[in-house]
């Protein structure tokens, strides 16, 4: 089957009301033939009942009743489409400032970010915000789509101006691969099909980029990290002494025969088998879910980590973290919280609020006494037990934490370890 053995690409789109984000997604779905007849019919009917004289593709991505009533998106919505080359998962997030937390959520699992700019308006505050969040969450690839080119006469000059002002801003960021594409989502120029209106643009279409961007080299294949989710002990006749450590590889490449170290115990052993469902795996790497057995009988449990003997993560209780605050309840210093990091959960205390980042100018705001919803702030956090971590820059899995409210159990913050 032509669909089999294709790669998965997760990307995020951020945009505000009216910049054509929903139309772009609708266009990708429509032109890749991922829209079904009954969905299209429903959209045609909705367009008619709203009195539009064209089929509004953006209605395809409309979700909940309250969103339709207000004509906005309030939450991350996930969309799916596939081409013969790749399967795509879109985290479609609203782009307004009050939804920073949704953008952060969508960005946390993305390989790539699409940043939309309205060609008539050029760089705006929200463009800064979207680019900054993509950079903060370490999305390795960004595609900046300069949209609504049809409304500026497909002007090369306007496109070039926007590209250079974006570059001036993004030089301060850490996105390693940025591409620019002039498009019209409404008419389909350079989305899936090449535009006949912009001969001056020699680059490829958005779909071509999405299908071909090289993502496997984004994995950390150097630092072996395996956080144990649970211990499998069957207690059956056939598997009397079986002790398998179940988990998902967080980094590096593990092989049977590797000398490994268990944390926090420090015991050294050798990998006996790596398996899933009884089938042996010769090389395991992120994001594979596997079960590892060791030559020696080591009493590991959930929250422990298996690493290479000579490449261990940081071990400690004091974390410097950039936090995206997600709760309507602000946070002050000395607040007790719960931290979840890999498969570990522990109590922690916010020791110090260092500064907030103005996400439009990237300036630091020092001397703060609390952090509010949608703020990005640097904090010092002390955990009640040592955790095994890398910097977020090195590994998104072992470098991220979520902060949980002790009383309500809500997720109130997302942190990236510096």
């Amino acid at each position: 089957m032509e669909y089999q053995d294709i790669e998965l690409l997760r990307f995020t789109t951020a945009g505000s009301v009216d910049d054509g984000k929903s139309t772009l997604i609708g266009r990708l779905l429509y032109d890749s033939k991922s829209i079904f007849q009954d969905q299209l019919q429903a959209v045609e009917e909705s367009s008619r009942s709203k009195g539009y004289d064209y089929v509004d593709l953006s209605l395809l991505t409309d979700g909940l009743k309250s969103e339709r009533e207000q004509g906005i998106t309030i939450d991350v919505a996930y969309r799916y489409f596939a081409t013969p080359k790749r399967k795509f998962i879109i985290a479609d997030t609203p782009g307004h400032i009050q939804y920073t937390r949704n953008m952060v959520t969508g960005a946390s699992t993305a390989n790539l970010a699409i940043i939309l700019i309205d060609a008539r308006k050029g760089m705006m505050e929200q463009t800064h915000r979207h680019a900054f969040i993509a950079s903060l969450l370490r999305i390795p690839h960004a595609i900046v789509c300069i949209n609504k080119m049809d409304l500026v006469d497909y002007s090369e000059h306007i496109y070039n101006d926007i590209v250079s002002s974006f570059k001036a801003f993004s030089s301060k960021l850490s996105i390693k691969d940025i591409q620019f594409i002039p498009i019209s989502a409404l008419h389909g120029d350079n989305v899936v099909n090449r535009s006949k209106n912009m001969d001056w643009y020699a680059g490829s279409t958005l779909m071509y980029h999405l299908e071909n961007v090289h993502i496997s080299s984004d994995l950390n294949l150097v630092d072996c990290r395996f956080a144990i989710q649970s211990v499998i002990r069957p207690h059956t006749f056939d598997y009397q002494d079986y002790r398998g450590f179940a988990g998902r590889i967080d980094g590096g490449v593990f092989k049977p025969g590797d000398r490994v170290k268990s944390l926090p115990s420090g015991f050294i052993s050798t990998i006996k088998t790596i398996e899933l469902n009884g089938e042996e795996i010769l090389e395991a790497f992120s994001p594979m879910s596997v079960t590892i057995t060791l030559e020696d009988d080591i009493d590991n449990s959930r929250g422990d980590m298996i690493v290479r003997e000579n490449n261990v993560p940081n071990i400690g209780q004091d974390l410097e973290v950039l936090v995206s605050w997600m709760s309507t309840k602000p946070i002050q210093t000395r607040t007790k919280v719960i931290i979840k990091h890999t498969t570990n959960v522990c109590v922690a205390i916010i020791k110090e609020l260092k500064y907030k980042i103005d996400i439009n100018t990237l300036h630091r705001i020092e001397g703060i006494d609390q952090v509010e919803m949608n703020d990005i702030a640097r904090m010092s956090i002390r955990t009640s037990k040592p955790i095994f971590y890398d910097s977020y820059k090195r590994n998104r899995q072992t470098g991220s934490v979520i902060i949980i409210d002790e009383q309500t159990n809500e997720t109130i913050g997302a942190g990236m370890i510096i």
Partner: protein, 301 residues
Amino acid sequence: MSNYVISHLKELESEAIYVIREVAAQFENPAILFSGGKDSIVLTHLAKKAFFPAKIPFPLIHIDTGHNFPETIAFRDALVENLGVRLIVGLVQEAIDKGRVREENGADASRNSLQIVTLLDTLETYKVDAAMGGARRDEEKARAKERFFSHRDEFGQWDPKNQRPELWNLFNGRQNYGEHFRVFPISNWTEMDVWEYIKQENIDLPSLYFSHQRDCVQRDGAILANSDYIKLKENEKVMPMTVRYRTCGDMTITGAVESTADSLDKIIKEIATTRTTERGGRADDKRAVTAMEDRKKQGYF
């Protein structure tokens, strides 16, 4: 190109197994909501892989409306036997007999929304704190906004505007007394992914999914199986047709499609060229634009 690439099916499988293992680790009393449909069969297969060589460490729960296809029940019983897992059955008929719910009347009557009460009763009786389901985000627009770990309040309700943000692979299953979670390990799968995976893994399915001859009734553009549970309207005729099912709900509401696809390869080919969504044949979704959203808020699957 480096060799460290896994296929999309492998990545989706890995993600689902990770989620299932998180559920087993974070909750006291998890369970799989098993409908007998292909998605819950795939989910059960993934759970088996997640814990092998140990058995699945939680029960399957089936909410039986009494209007199931007989093939579904036979398949369920054989699967449970084979895996050696515990089966819990919640009977909608029991809730009706006790007067907890009232049956709908008329020709379009279905027990679909009656299941909500039995489902919530069963979860409460067995103190289930995490109920895993085979729902996918690509199925329906309200489901597109669903989390992997979806929080339900003490009344079993879903509040779409107040969902917990879900970042990286850090799932927060902490709950207050009386609350529970619905967990959807195959959230990111599409209908095509499910079929390709069934083929790759050689997973058994009830015969309903393959082309067969059946006495059917056409109603509002849907093809329904003729059975004792369906009341014929005037000028409706029972006709033998060659059909198969794309989803598997109650006999009264699940529409069949005309199809000659009698093998997985043919089904995959058919889906690749098909032009309607799989829930397009579900009468329960056609009641209102927000039918799924409304039922989900009340505690539906």
